[in-house]
């Protein structure tokens, strides 16, 4: 029998939620291991951090000096590197610290002895440090995404990269638009598909946990939010939550004009 492709799951700064897309798969996890050889997956008890693998999945963002070295090694040891989740693809919720004026002082605000803490001033996505072959967006990602990615790689092709706007899936699902019927500031028009339009299904506005879609007209949406009666700082907070990125706010940056 031909040897099975090898896989590793690595973790950086994160909540572990994305790895649950695998651990909550149930029996499919056993099916999966019939097709790939998992070399490293600490949560599942498989340990070999430095194994050379075909595909390395990486959860979490880079926040310590040690992380910056680890990720280099992981990249060297992997044929393909795929990030899972917001933390790894965009810095994630902990990148809120990138927006702070003095993040360097945070350890001191919290720890009596900040000198014990190895913490960079920023939370950085994996791609800021090494080449990433494919990104799975979402906070958290779901089992569908990861099995589609592995399935495609096993067929010898890259996974489909779907950057479609959430609204399209929202309408496929037959949900009633929260923005139109409730005046809620829904992020759907600039948010990447993938979750299945969960929040609108629950009658609430999307808060953007899957990250930015293709051609996001952030400024147009921000203007619309103002029109719904939101204040500037409320609009700003909507845009700066799970994938904080200062340039996105209020048309100060891109997305305002059609280009």
């Amino acid at each position: 029998m031909a040897t099975k492709p090898t896989v590793a799951i690595h973790k950086f700064s994160s909540c572990d939620g994305c790895q649950l897309a695998l651990l909550n798969m149930g029996e499919a996890l056993v099916d999966l291991t019939g097709r790939v050889d998992i070399k490293h997956f600490a949560e599942a008890g498989v340990l070999d951090e430095s194994a050379h693998v075909d595909i390395a999945f990486v959860e979490g963002s880079i926040v310590t000096k040690l992380d910056t070295q680890r990720i280099q090694q992981i990249r060297k040891n992997a044929r393909y590197l795929i990030t899972m989740g917001a933390c790894a693809t965009s810095g994630g919720i902990q990148a809120l610290k990138n927006l702070a004026k003095h993040p360097a002082s945070w350890p001191a605000d919290i720890y009596p002895q900040p000198e014990f803490i190895d913490s960079l001033d920023r939370s950085e996505p994996i791609k800021a440090h090494v080449k990433v072959d494919f990104e799975l967006w979402g906070c958290p990602i779901n089992s569908r995404q990861i099995s589609a990615a592995i399935g495609a790689m096993l067929e010898g092709v890259m996974p489909r990269d779907d950057r479609e706007k959430l609204c399209i899936e929202c309408k496929r699902q037959g949900h009633v638009c929260t923005l139109i019927t409730q005046g809620e500031p829904c992020m759907g028009p600039v948010t990447r598909t993938g979750c299945g339009a969960l929040c609108p299904e629950f009658g609430r506005a999307c808060y953007g946990c899957y990250g930015e879609s293709e051609l996001p007209k952030n400024a147009v949406l921000a203007r619309r939010f103002l029109g719904l009666g939101l204040l500037t700082d409320q609009v700003e907070r909507r845009f700066q939550l799970i994938h904080p990125e200062p340039e996105r706010t209020l048309g100060l940056g891109h997305g305002g004009q059609d280009d």
Binding site: G151, A152, E155, G156, V157, M158, R160
Partner: protein, 280 residues
């Protein structure tokens, strides 16, 4: 009312031969697995199939073999993205799905007893290969066959031996050009349209088949019009994103046409306006 027997669901085909034409180009020789399907399958040059790679997806690919060949259907594919990269890994004996044929092919009947001029640009344009093969097999039907091919870099030319082979044939002329070439390049250096001054086709009694990037097709067609080729003798093969191939999915619309069923081959005046039109 349904037109073809096999339009919505693929049938299984087997790779009987895999030919690596160049680094990024390969030919898949396919045979339908089911004997009855084989017997029923008919196509014309310029038509295309939707090839399905298991678990990955479908892509439109022109048929390059001859309708009278045995029951082997050839497809020459260039590796550009997901599906084509996957197809490139197939080996002899592997299976894939196929549905088709779709679209309207080249007007080879119309070209009968006339000169046939074939103009292609880019990296070996598969759709016209079928027309070339067709004409070469039936030399008595065509007065003359001229093949004009342009590439960006000299190294992009694949199938050098095929061109050599074609050039040897009676009644066939082959003109090649490269935008950029080294000193060893024996052919024209410059634009493909410049070659059109050197073809010996009877402009007023020919049929032209053009395939390539839209800019090239437009320049060539306009030049040929100037040279006196009747507008309704110029045919082009068009490309757009394609999902269903039966005119339902809406992706391949070009103005009011659906390329999959109204094309991919169009007569020039019908789409003259659309070429290079931004956003169409």
């Amino acid at each position: 009312m349904s037109r073809d027997y096999q339009t919505q669901t693929p049938i299984a085909a087997r790779v009987v031969e895999f030919i690596q034409e160049s680094d990024a180009i390969f030919t898949l020789r396919l045979q339908l697995e089911d004997a009855a399907e084989r017997a029923r399958y008919q196509f014309m040059p310029g038509q295309f199939n939707m090839l399905y790679l298991f678990g990955v997806g479908e892509v439109p690919i022109s048929i390059v073999s001859d309708p009278l060949d045995d029951d082997i259907i050839d497809h020459t594919v260039r590796v550009v993205g997901r599906v084509t990269r996957g197809l490139a890994q197939l080996k002899k004996g592997d299976r894939l799905g196929l549905r088709g044929p779709f679209g309207h092919g080249w007007p080879l009947a119309l070209a009968r007893d006339k000169d046939l001029l074939i103009v292609t640009g880019g990296l070996g344009c598969a759709p016209v290969v079928s027309a070339i093969n067709y004409a070469l097999k039936r030399p008595e039907h065509y007065r003359k066959l001229s093949i004009v091919q342009g590439v960006k870099h000299a190294n992009d030319l694949i199938w050098q031996h095929r061109y050599d082979d074609w050039r040897e044939r009676e009644g066939v002329e082959v003109l090649l050009a490269a935008d950029e070439a080294g000193p060893a390049w024996p052919f024209h250096v410059g634009r493909i349209t410049e070659l059109l001054d050197h073809v010996t086709t009877a402009y007023d009694n020919c049929v032209v088949m053009i395939c390539g990037p839209e800019g090239l097709m437009q320049r060539a067609a306009e030049l040929l019009l100037e040279k006196g080729v009747p507008p309704y003798s110029i045919y082009l093969s068009m490309e757009r994103n394609m999902q269903c191939a039966v005119g339902h999915c809406g992706h391949c619309q070009l103005g009011a046409d659906f390329i999959c069923k109204d094309g991919p081959v169009f007569v020039y005046p019908d789409i003259r306006e659309r070429l290079l039109q931004e956003g169409v």
